[in-house]
Each structure stands twice: as structure tokens, then as C-alpha cells.
Symmetry: none
Subunit: 210 residues, 4 copies
DNA sequence: GATGAATGAGATTTCATTCAT
DNA sequence: CATGAATGAAATCTCATTCAT
């Protein structure tokens, strides 16, 4: 936070404000969902008035899009670069990709956004389109790419990559969603790493040529 | 109320009228979710007045529980019996179980309830508790049971059955949820059977002793 | 109001409610204008809650349209019939028409609606279109018709009837509007009848062949 | 404030910058009305910040008064001088007065202020009082004066000059207001001159001794 | 049993005005 | 002089629930 000691005094406040709003918004959206989050609460959590929110974001939907843009899109880009740069076996790439995803999204608040979007997509088509275009489609494409790579190199069985991708993503997404829905049937935190290992193990033994 | 003295004992009363209510409620809950469904609309769809709803169900939550009880619990029971009665290999049991589930829940409106509960569990803890106790826990137990059966018989690798069950359920649940969320990234209906086959194939090759 | 003494008791309330709402709405719309009238106040004035208003009228605009429909349209129809039935000289018809208009609209609260619409037409295009189609156009057509009748019979000079109509309406409309705008420059009530007589006199001496 | 001791007495200070503000304000007030005009928009249109507006005008009402003072009052003075200086027949004076008025107010944006004031007078009594005192009363007095002049000289019939003035102004004001309200029933621009001629013709033939 | 009119708390969004810099 | 971020009251519209008939 104070990593840049020479930042001019007079710019700090202006730059900081939107960040505080997005942080508060992320917390509340994740906790309650899109429709059930009141802008009143977001404002109070950020320590500003309701009107201030509208100074920065012209509607609840725009606020949400900004939350996604600021928090999720960088991770997508990072993941894309990780895949591009990798030169080992596809199994290792798969392992690395899922582990990284888990560290960056699964373990953080961001995992709540997946649940939120799944939950509210049909009631907010604009949001759904946005999230699909910016997050789901690129993410999907990466898994498909990995499968194609593995099949081409002979490491993996020749499954349909599009269908296979959806099946393989499912346990990761469900793991993220469970964290944010039924507290009553939650996987204990200490088991989550075990879940991830089991998942990778089960996925690979199903994918690899035996 | 008791105007028909010969009414058979085992016939549940109040079932005739409520059936229409529950049908309308199921449709709307699945289409819009719990919070976003207006009782106004449920009443209109059922062809009764809003007040009448309250004659049969004391609140929106009670109405929802009734929908679940009437539609989902019988399927759970049925599935339990199917497993009890099965005597073939565990792989075949797994295949039969998932296929049956897909026919009875995945392909019907009921699949929407999974998404709904995932979406709204955290905002309606009572509902979450109810759904967990009545649906999730029993369902989970069946998968765990199948895994134990397979491991005990030597057919399957010795994975942790609790964790494995959650991983294995995930693609089934996601498939149901996708149907009801992003229309924009929906799997085409014609591919759904292909998805199921791929899933069973990938799951089994990961589970079976090689 | 009590002209139908045998009206069944149990329908009275239901029928009466919308009337009370429209009365309150007319009062407030006339007093404050469309945009500045708060539905809260309309509800309170009618002795009901805000929600009740929406039971009968789905939006502020619909409420306003209902006010116009209920109060103004009958007068328009009546005036049309009056003209159809008249068989005397056009000068006498003109006198009768303007006098009647003054009695029915000018002297009542309805005169406030003219001002309101003039004031807010450009900010509420839907309302403007509605009011033009239902009130202004028919009213205009009547004046044009009278002028045509007078010109055809040789009583009046051959002016352009469309343009003449607008000029002739103007003092009547202004008289109505003044009543509801500047209290500070208002024509005293006792002078209003004198205004009307002067207007008819000046108009006719301008129209009649000398 | 008195820092420039040699500044000529008669030069109004603070006039250079405010001119842009008043132009922007006139445009927007005419287009949308008083209440519906946002100071945000005025500031943006003038190319300054919202705070700057308050540097020059202490409130929205003061800004509006300044717009009227700067734009309308000079015309009133001019018209007064025109009447004083005129030496021909009263009919010719009337014609000249109305034609000039039409050129200077009717055809310009200023015509919008009449509608604005009529529309919002009752909701902003201070503004109404100001406008009445500064614009309406003097204008009215001029027409009354003309009528008195014509009656005294024997050119015109002995009508009540106060009442006659209001009737005679009405079509002029309405013509200005129509331009700014219902676009849907607007008099086409090419007909406006014809309207003016018709009006003068009808007015004079009603006023002159036959 | 059945109705549907009535409620009122609460949600998003707007905007004149203030004030620290 | 000038800025523009911040405020907070207010306005329209929604909906689960109640209750007299």
C-alpha cells in the first residue's frame, strides 16, 4: 500500500476511492448475491454515502462489471500467459493450471463470483452476456486448448475436447460454489487441498492413455 | 371437511387443490429463482387468488419446501431402492444410477431446483438446512455407498469415498445448472446425451483399477 | 351521486375507491403539476397507502391519463353533441360554445390541466401525445368546424379556419392558465365573467362581416 | 472588491465570465424548464465546474433571475421607448408593437421563458413575483397604454383597457408557448408569419370603430 | 373455504448545494 | 478564483403478508 513512497500527495485520495468501493462491493456481492445486495450497504461498508457510489458507477450493473473487470480479468490474462509459456508435459501443465487457479480464485473471495453469476444469470441477461464473454468463454478456451495439446502429443485419449472441458471444469466450479452456499454441508478447509489432489488424480487417470 | 365418511385412510387430504399450486410454483421457482418469484404470479398461474396460497402454505418458504417434498423426495427414495436391489458390478450400478438420475432429474424441470438452492442457500438458511437434510445428504450417501461397494469388491481404486463422491457428483450438478443459467453458453440439447456418456467414461476410467 | 338508490351495498367501496384516487390526483396535479406531484401525497390525500395507488394505476403516467379520461373526455363529447344539435346562427353557436366551455372547464379545476400539459408536454412526450390526440385535436376541430360553418353561411369573413381557430382559442386557454399560475397577477374572480363577455364581443366583431 | 479604484462607475463587474453561464442557462431552462434543468448540465454546457456556478449565483433561482434580467429586461425598456417615440395612428402603433415583439421575443429562444414561467410559477412563488414585477406588469401596462391612446383619440371602441389588454396579449403568448410545448401540434414555422398577420387583422377589426 | 383489497417497509436512482484543496 | 468530490433527502415503484367479507 505504501510501496510507492513518491506518489504525489494530492492524487492519492482520488485514486483510492474507487478501490475502496470495489472492495466493499466485492465483499457484499459475494456474501449476498447481486439482487440481494443493497447499494446502501455497499456505500456504508465503503464509508461513503449512497450518492458517492453513483459518482463512480452509473448503476448497480456497472458497479458489478467493474468488480469483475478489476478482479477477474487480470487472472484470466495471467492464466493465458502461463499456458503460453509452459513447455513441459500436458499432465504437468494441467496440474499447474488447476493448482494455480485454485490458489488465485478458489481460495479467495473471487470464487463467490462464479456462484453469483450462475445464480443470477437468468434474471440479469446483460450481466450474463458480459460475464460469459469476458470470463467463461476465455476460461473454457484454455481448457479446450490444453486437451487439444495433450491429444495431439499422444498423452491423452482422443475425447471430444469441448465436452471434455466442461466435464473437467465442473468439479472446480462446484468446489468454489460450495464454499459460498450451504454452510451446512461445507467441505472443511483442511480437506480442500485433499479435494484438489483427488480431483487432479481422478481427472488424469481418466484422461491419460492407460 | 369430513363430508365423505368413507374416504380411505391413506389418502392425504388437502392434496387435490394444492397440486395445481405446487405445479405453478415449481414452474416459476425454476424459471426465476426463489427470491425473484412473486407469489402474485404463482397465484395467477395456478388460477387462484393470492390469499388462497396462504390457506395452504403459511409462507413462501413453506410453499417451496412443499414443492421439494412433493417432487424430489420420491425420486430420492426410488434411487435408494434401486441401489439396494442391484446385484451386478459396481461399474454397471454407477452407470445405471447416473443414467436414471439424468432421466428423472436432469432432463426435467427438477434440475432447476439444484441451481435455485445453490443460488439462494446463503440468503435463506432455513431452506438450505432443509434441502441439505432432505436431498443433498441422502444423495451424497448413495454415491459414497457405491464407491465403498466398488472399493470393497476390488473393482475400484482405494480413493477417499467422501471426497470422491463430491468430485463425481459435480459434473452432474453442473450439467443441470447450466441448463438453467446462461442461455448463452448452454450445451445444445442434442449434446447432452453425449456429455453424459463422456462423463461416465471419464469417471470410470479414473475410478477403475487399471 | 346518490341517484341510484338501489345500488347494492357490497359494490360501493370497490367502485368508489378509484373515484377517490382520481379526485385526489386531480387536485394535486392541478396544484403542483405532473412532475412535482408526489404519489405519496396523492395517496395520503385519498386516505390510502402508496401501494394502493399501484393497485389501480400502474404508473404515475397511467394515473394522469385516467384523470384526463374520467374528467375531460366526457366534456369533449358533450361539446361535440352540442354543436351537432345547434340550429341557430353561427354567432349564437360561438357564444354558446364558449360560454359552456367556460362553465364546464374554465371555472372548474379542469382548467388547471391545460396549464399542466402546456408546462410539461416537452418533458413527457407520451403524455403530450395522449393529450393532443384525445383533447387538443378534437377541441381544435370543433372551432375549425364552427368557423367553416360561419364562413359558408356568409356570416363570417373568409379567414383561414385553421389559423383562426388557434387565435380564437388562445384567450380562452390563457384565461384558464392564468387562474393556475401567477396568483400575483390573477384576474379577480368577479372580473372573469366580464373577461368572457369582452372576449366574445371582440372576437365576433372581428369575425363578422361589417 | 474595490481593488481597482479607477474602474469606471457604470461598468458592471463580474459580467465577462457570467455571460457564458447565462447563455448556457438560457438554453437549458428553455429546453427543459426550471425544475427539470440540472445545474450539472448548465455547468457542463458552459464549460465550467458546478462549483463555479455558485461562485457567481448563490442558487438556481438567482441564476434564473439573472437570465431574465440580462435577456428580457432590455427588450422591455426598448419597447417602452418605441411607444413613447411613436407619433402615428394607434392602429399603426399596435401593428408595429406586435411585429417588433414577435421579431425580438417570439422568434427567439426568449419565447421559451414565457412558457417556463407559466409552467412553474405556482411552484416557485419568488420567481413568479419577480417575473411579474419585472416583465408581466410593465408589458401589460404598455398594451393598456396603447388601448387608452386609441380610445382617447376616437380610433378605438371604448372597451375596458385592462381586460382588453389581457385578451389581446393572449394569442401572442400562446403562439410563443406552442413553439415550446407540443411538438406534435406545432404550427409550422412557415405559418407563423401568417398567424401574426391574421392575429393583427382580427384584433384590429375587433377594436376599430366600424 | 376463498377472495382480493390494502398495507408499508424498502430498493434504486437523482440532484441542489457545500466545502476542502 | 476554480474545482469536483461528497452529501442526503426525496421520488417512483415492488411485494410478502394480512384480514374483512
Amino acid at each position: 500500500m505504501m510501496s510507492c513512497p513518491f506518489k504525489p500527495r494530492w492524487e492519492r485520495r482520488k485514486d483510492a476511492r474507487p478501490q475502496e468501493l470495489l472492495l466493499a462491493a466485492l465483499d457484499l456481492f459475494v456474501e449476498r448475491g447481486f439482487a440481494a445486495t443493497r447499494l446502501d450497504d455497499v456505500a456504508r461498508a465503503a464509508g461513503v454515502s449512497k450518492g458517492t457510489l453513483y459518482l463512480y458507477y452509473s448503476s448497480k450493473e456497472e458497479l458489478f462489471k467493474a468488480v469483475v473487470r478489476e478482479n477477474v480479468l487480470p487472472l484470466i490474462d495471467e492464466a493465458g500467459e502461463l499456458i503460453q509459456a509452459f513447455s513441459g508435459s500436458t499432465a504437468d501443465l494441467f496440474r499447474l493450471f488447476m493448482t494455480t487457479w485454485w490458489e488465485r480464485m478458489g481460495k479467495t473471495k473471487l470464487s463467490g463470483l462464479s456462484k453469483l453469476m450462475m445464480a443470477e444469470a437468468s434474471n440479469f441477461p446483460d450481466l450474463a452476456q458480459f460475464y460469459h464473454d469476458e470470463v467463461i468463454a476465455p476460461g473454457d478456451a484454455m481448457i479446450v486448448g490444453m486437451l487439444r495439446r495433450g491429444i495431439a502429443s499422444g498423452e491423452m485419449r482422443a475425447i471430444d475436447p469441448e465436452i471434455g472441458a466442461k466435464i473437467l471444469i465442473a468439479p472446480m466450479i462446484m468446489m468454489m460454489m460450495w464454499k459460498h452456499s450451504y454452510s451446512v454441508c461445507q467441505i472443511p478447509n483442511k480437506d480442500l487441498d485433499s479435494y484438489l489432489e483427488h480431483y487432479i488424480d481422478m481427472a488424469l487417470h481418466g484422461l491419460l492413455v492407460r
